[in-house]
């Protein structure tokens, strides 16, 4: 069983327990021997993973490694063919508190740039599920949206069309939409793909502040090994099954990337 207890932020609720050597804090997401099959092909094979509260977990791996599938299992969008998934201590089939989960999809697949929606409209839509079908947004929803917009540095562009923003700003809109729901666990799928370096740095700064100030647990899937290894507290290497886990410097020792990607990719990664 993989356990991810290291590298937690100082201010997170997790930290104090760990200093005293007591592991009292709950695990927010847990996969146990999880397999996923698509049309007879095994995409994930007996994956064990525990994500403790307050952790920042980065999931890396080559194309087709099952990274996005892993996120989709945690989001309840893909049913595993074997194993168990628990969210906040409950079996996923009995889990109802979906508002505690935030999801930031890949920008390219989530979004039609000609869609006439303002930043504020999109961020507000993040609370639709929490408010309930046919009910109106109230003052609490608008307050949560204002907080999300200000924290994500989007307050000044709140009435602009999302499609008119830069790639980095658009990605922060999707994080703000998830934040507006005040999630305890935020799952991000390739969030910085197509974002310029400056936008990427602002994006990671936002994630750091979320973790520091709200203790939000983060699970981020990315192909950008260098950036992920720099930011996360725990690294998970996935290629259908788990190759490595633990703090980034430990996880990447002994030619792990070589085994994960093949030797050629390793050279490219070292240039970062």
């Amino acid at each position: 069983m993989l356990s991810l207890w290291d590298g937690l932020p100082r201010g997170a609720r997790m930290g104090d327990g760990r200093r005293e050597g007591v592991r009292l804090e709950p695990v927010v997401a847990e996969l146990e021997h999880v397999c996923v099959d698509f049309e007879g092909e095994r995409v994930l094979d007996r994956v064990d993973l525990r994500v403790p509260r307050g952790a920042f977990v980065g999931v890396i791996g080559p194309n087709g490694a099952g990274k996005t599938t892993l996120l989709r299992v945690l989001l309840g969008l893909v049913r595993p063919s074997c194993g168990h998934v628990r969210l906040f201590g409950r079996d996923i089939n009995a889990f109802r508190d979906w508002h505690r989960m935030g999801y930031v999809p890949q920008r390219a697949v989530a979004f039609e740039t000609r869609f006439p929606a303002t930043v504020r409209e999109v961020v507000l839509s993040g609370r639709a599920g929490r408010v309930g079908l046919g009910r109106r947004f109230g003052p609490r929803d608008h307050a949560a949206v204002e907080w999300a917009l200000r924290t994500a540095g989007l307050w000044d562009v709140r009435d602009r069309l999302v499609g008119k923003l830069s790639g980095g700003q658009q990605q922060r809109v999707f994080v703000a939409r998830a934040m507006a729901n005040e999630p305890d666990l935020l799952l991000l799928d390739e969030p910085t793909a197509g974002v310029d370096p400056e936008g990427e740095e602002r994006f990671y700064e936002l994630l750091r502040s979320l973790r520091r100030e709200r203790g939000t647990t983060l699970v981020l899937v990315s192909h950008d090994v260098a950036a992920v290894a720099r930011e996360v507290s725990q690294l998970v290497c996935l290629n259908r099954t788990l190759f490595c886990h633990g703090a980034p410097e430990e996880a990447l020792r002994d030619g792990t990337l070589d085994r994960l990607y093949g030797a050629r990719h390793l050279v490219v990664s070292h240039r970062h």
Binding site: Y103, P116, T118, E121, A128, R130, G134, K164
Partner: protein, 267 residues
């Protein structure tokens, strides 16, 4: 305004106004979800309902509504199952609906069925009792859009993220398709089965050229719809041309104008 002195024009304008508000309000969601062809498909299925109603001797509106709603559920099921390519499933329903209508109408030989009226609209022939159900269905469609506005927006913008949040995506997809079928039945009397999808799609397209928010897109689309219907009916009265053709041509003219204006319109 001498056209308002005539009872048939008053009824035409009332029925047209109801469609002018309902169709674009539903159409904005439909266009942004890339489901515009569903409107045309369900219109043809509704024609089969009209034919069945004529054969059974019941109200054509009831027949159209029942079959269009059944067609909506069938289309949505086929689409969601992913077993057919999306548009191929629609072609199946569209041609199937028309074929059933033709067979049933040929069986009903001798019955006075105003097929051309249903195909091309006969808004100036709307009877007083018909205005009531047209207004009722149209207002129900608009009321549903208003009541579920935030949910329909969430699903339209990003279906998967809405699903993750616990928004009942499948139920809302079905609701949208049912709204289309209701709107199509209203449109059947006003602009006819062949042109009803134009009032769902074209005002929405015009609004999408200019809107600076989603709410603005919705309101602009309704505005374009109302202008098209009122100007089209007035034009048909004064120039003695087919009302449905005039309405749709004005709608397309507004689309051309909004596309031209969008070059200078700051968004």
């Amino acid at each position: 305004m001498d056209l308002l002195h005539y009872g048939f024009m008053q009824r035409a304008l009332l029925a047209g106004a109801v469609l002018a508000v309902a169709a674009p309000a539903v159409g904005v969601f439909l266009v942004l979800r890339r489901l515009s062809p569903i409107a045309d498909t369900l219109a043809h299925v509704a024609l089969a309902g009209v034919a069945a109603a004529v054969l059974l001797g019941v109200s054509p509106a009831v027949g159209a509504l029942v079959l269009a709603a059944a067609g909506a559920m069938g289309v949505e099921r086929l689409r969601a199952s992913g077993r057919l390519f999306g548009e191929a499933a629609l072609a199946l329903f569209l041609s199937g609906g028309l074929a059933v209508a033709l067979v049933l109408l040929s069986l009903a030989r001798g019955v006075n069925a105003d097929l051309l009226g249903y195909l091309f609209g006969a808004v100036t022939a709307v009877r007083p009792e018909e205005v009531w159900w047209i207004a009722g269905l149209g207002l129900a469609a608009v009321g549903t859009v208003v009541a579920f506005y935030k949910d329909l927006f969430a699903v339209t913008f990003d279906e998967e993220s809405a699903r993750v949040q616990g928004v009942p995506v499948d139920a809302l997809n079905l609701l949208l398709t049912l709204l289309v079928s209701v709107t199509v039945v209203v449109g059947m009397r006003v602009v006819g089965i062949l042109l009803t999808s134009a009032l769902l799609v074209v005002p929405a397209l015009s609004a999408l050229q200019l809107a600076r928010s989603f709410l603005e897109a919705l309101l602009m689309a309704v505005g374009f719809g109302v202008v098209s219907v009122v100007a089209g009916l007035a034009g048909s009265f004064y120039f003695d041309v087919a009302p449905s053709g005039a309405v749709v041509l004005i709608s397309i003219g507004l689309f051309a104008a909004s596309t031209w204006a969008s070059r200078w319109w700051r968004r």
